[in-house]
Amino acid sequence: MDELIQDFIDETFETLDTLSGELVAWEANPSDSDRLDNIFRFFHTVKGSCGFLNLPRFERLSHAAEDALSKLRDGSIEPSPALVTAILAIVDRISTLASALNSGDALPDGEDKAFIARLAEACSGTVAGVLEKAKAMPEAGQSVAEAHPQTRAIRIPLDLLDHLMNGVSDMVLARNEVARRIRDGGDEQVMSGAFERLSTCIADMRDMIGKTRMQRIERVFSPLPRLVRDLNAELGKSVILSTSGAEVEMDREMLEMIRDPLMHIIRNAIDHGIESADERSKAGKSAEGHLSVNARQSGNQILIEIADDGRGIDVDSLVTKAVAAKIIRGSERTNLDEQAKLNLVFAPGLSTAQNVTSISGRGVGMDVVHANIKRIGGAIDVKNVPGKGLKITLCVPLTLTIISCLTIRCGDNLFALPRSAVQEILQADNKQVKIERLGGTDIASIRGIKVPHVTLEQILGLDEADDDRAENRTVIAIDAGPRQNYALSVASVLDHEELVIRPCPPLLMENGLYAGTTLPDNGRPMLLLDPGGMAAKLDINAQAELSTLQDDSAENNVNETISVLVFKDMKQRTRAINLGVIERVEDIEAERVAFSAGQMRVSCGDGTCPIFGLEQVPGSESIKTLILSDGDTAIYYAIDDIIDIFAMDRAFEKAAEPGLVAGVTMISGQQAEIVDAHWIFAQHACGSIESNAASRPRCRVVGGDDMWTRHILAPLVEAAGYELALGDDESAAADIYIAMEDCRDTADLPANAPVIHLVSNRTGQGDAVYRYDREALVKALSNNLKRRESA
């Protein structure tokens, strides 16, 4: 019986959210009888289940709603806003009762009769009384949403479950095979094959389990129509909501995390963004405001856009408020660019509202929205068109559970740090980093930007081990959110891996430093550090002052410089290359490199990429490479070591001749050659001939389809830029013909068609070409090609 009730509760919750949305949609278009049928069916189902489960209160409520709806269906009463409000109140009541039933609390007191009476009144049309009562119970939806318990049950599509079951059987079979091979004392080759299959099975299973965690974003979208309707009623505005992309799927946990930020942004948009009808018509806009919420997937991220056509943000008044709230100094306001000013919206303690209303005063500011999104590794982008509207884009990762992390060492402990918060990793002995002590606080200057500096040991309250000398440590520049930049010093950075993160028990969460636990391959549990939580341990206000203070001076010289990576090449020459063309830095195994087809190549997957800066395969096991990318092709550049990133003047002394080295610049008192990335790509990127196969001229070989033409002549012809046609398909016309010696029927060939005659002895007759006279043959082919092009 308990199970049945649990099922009932889960099902009810799931449908309730959707139902509110349906009701509101139906209100907008009362002629939509399908919707009405859906709504009716829900109440009918609830009523049926309640009778069976002996829940009389649910039964009475749903019966009343069903009654009213059935009257609406047969047209005996007309829909009215009051009626919809009364039905929504019943929906809320059912939700409250279900919550109580679920948590095992006593069912809330209070007379359900009041709701039923309200509905009856609404049906009979005594509207005035209803509205009064509606006002007497404000915020019904709100209180229910808060009491909404976390139901842990989920529904999974049956076919996914079947796939999972199949996956498990496959895995068992693969396991059995491995077991058999082990028993047979199998040789390594066979073993590794069996193991490979097992690994594939496990990877598949992991994907599938990942899918069971995915849920359509609809779940968050479906309560929105109701929210907008309530806000419209409360604020006396008229806003039309449109949503799209409800079918986009994302991780369940993630959905929960974005729910509140999304609601808040929508409240803000309706309360502050969209103007009243009067103001709108004065500004020449339609009386109704428009709010659109769109979700779409882009790579492994989900983008959620919330766009309104309201007044936008008044940036000047925002800056004035920020100055008044001492978030920035008055002298700074001229230095901020438009986006930086706009980003002040996310600064703590700042409200753009002219006056605080009940909607905006709910305790969640944009700073909290920003912090929440940042916590799950996402980002927020704001596009403001003053007077025209505001578009906020939430960009969140697809799943919470697998995060790419750096593993770092602190004393004997290892920790994981989310990559999304890491800006840069530097060695402490690097000249670009300077750590100074100011009034008992360490401040790091990284390339002129000053941020608070803290060691991980200090944050965690550990003793700094003596053997970790300061210059061997690593400094990580962390950006945990707006005004949450700091430099974290750790004993060392070990690795970069994708880790499966599990939630942290409350006992470990309470200090705010940890965000989860993970179990890496070595089987030793590790904690995931929370960069935001660590920032909270530092004095954020002081740091905001400092970082902006520094922004001024940094900005002045940033404009005329470009960031370059300075490195030593294989011949120990100091060189610099524009940071923008570097896709990543990778250590590759030396065995992947070989000299083939005229240049050094690295095998990558099924193909190869050119590697540059290497004359022979070195003796060492691995080669440090820069991977350069022009967007399409990648070229590896073998180097000896990376020195650092520097800001270089745009103007530098040019080399005498164009070539690999474009010029020379001075970097910390030393000459560094500047590498011309364009030249590298021009030299090494193999132009793709195949891509335009269709447009290539055809060359037909007449009178010979033997091994020689197929395997020896064909590559030559193709290399000359022709498509080769062989054999009997006489009908196909061609741009050039090659006639073999034993072929006499050249008369069949079209008149005036260029023909090259091949002979097998060197003493060629007339214009015939000896078949191994490569030069003459290529010349004949390319001459024809040129003629064709000029024609």
Binding site: D412, T518, G523
Partner: protein, 144 residues
Amino acid sequence: MNNLYLIATMAGEDIAIAADRVESVVKVRDIISVPSVKPYVRGLFALRSRVLTVIDSSHFVTGNPGKIANEHAAIVTQIGGHFYGFLVDSIQDVCSAESAESVLPATLHGMWREIGTAMLSVDGKTMLVVDPARFIEAETTKAA
């Protein structure tokens, strides 16, 4: 029907834990310490693919860190969706209680009062019934 109890020694005293609260009993080794948390939180321990938070029960009770043997006995329970391992001095037995749980006649000493819920008689001895969830809840209520 369900009056089985796991009898263990915790901080030198024999205590009883309702058997249905206990997931398993394991030997833990290689505890990964966790800095900057409550002192009685020993650290993390990987039990197959699960990560347990290890709690030193005698430290909780006495306020002094207990001695951790190389393969220390721990009681594994699940509380609020997370797994915990409670280090105990030793595990005695699983017994069925001779009496129902009865109300304690006096307020317990020190931290014992946070975790002890009732008493009961097993094998002719009166023992304290300990609810493992109280270790975790005791702290959250205090923090609030």
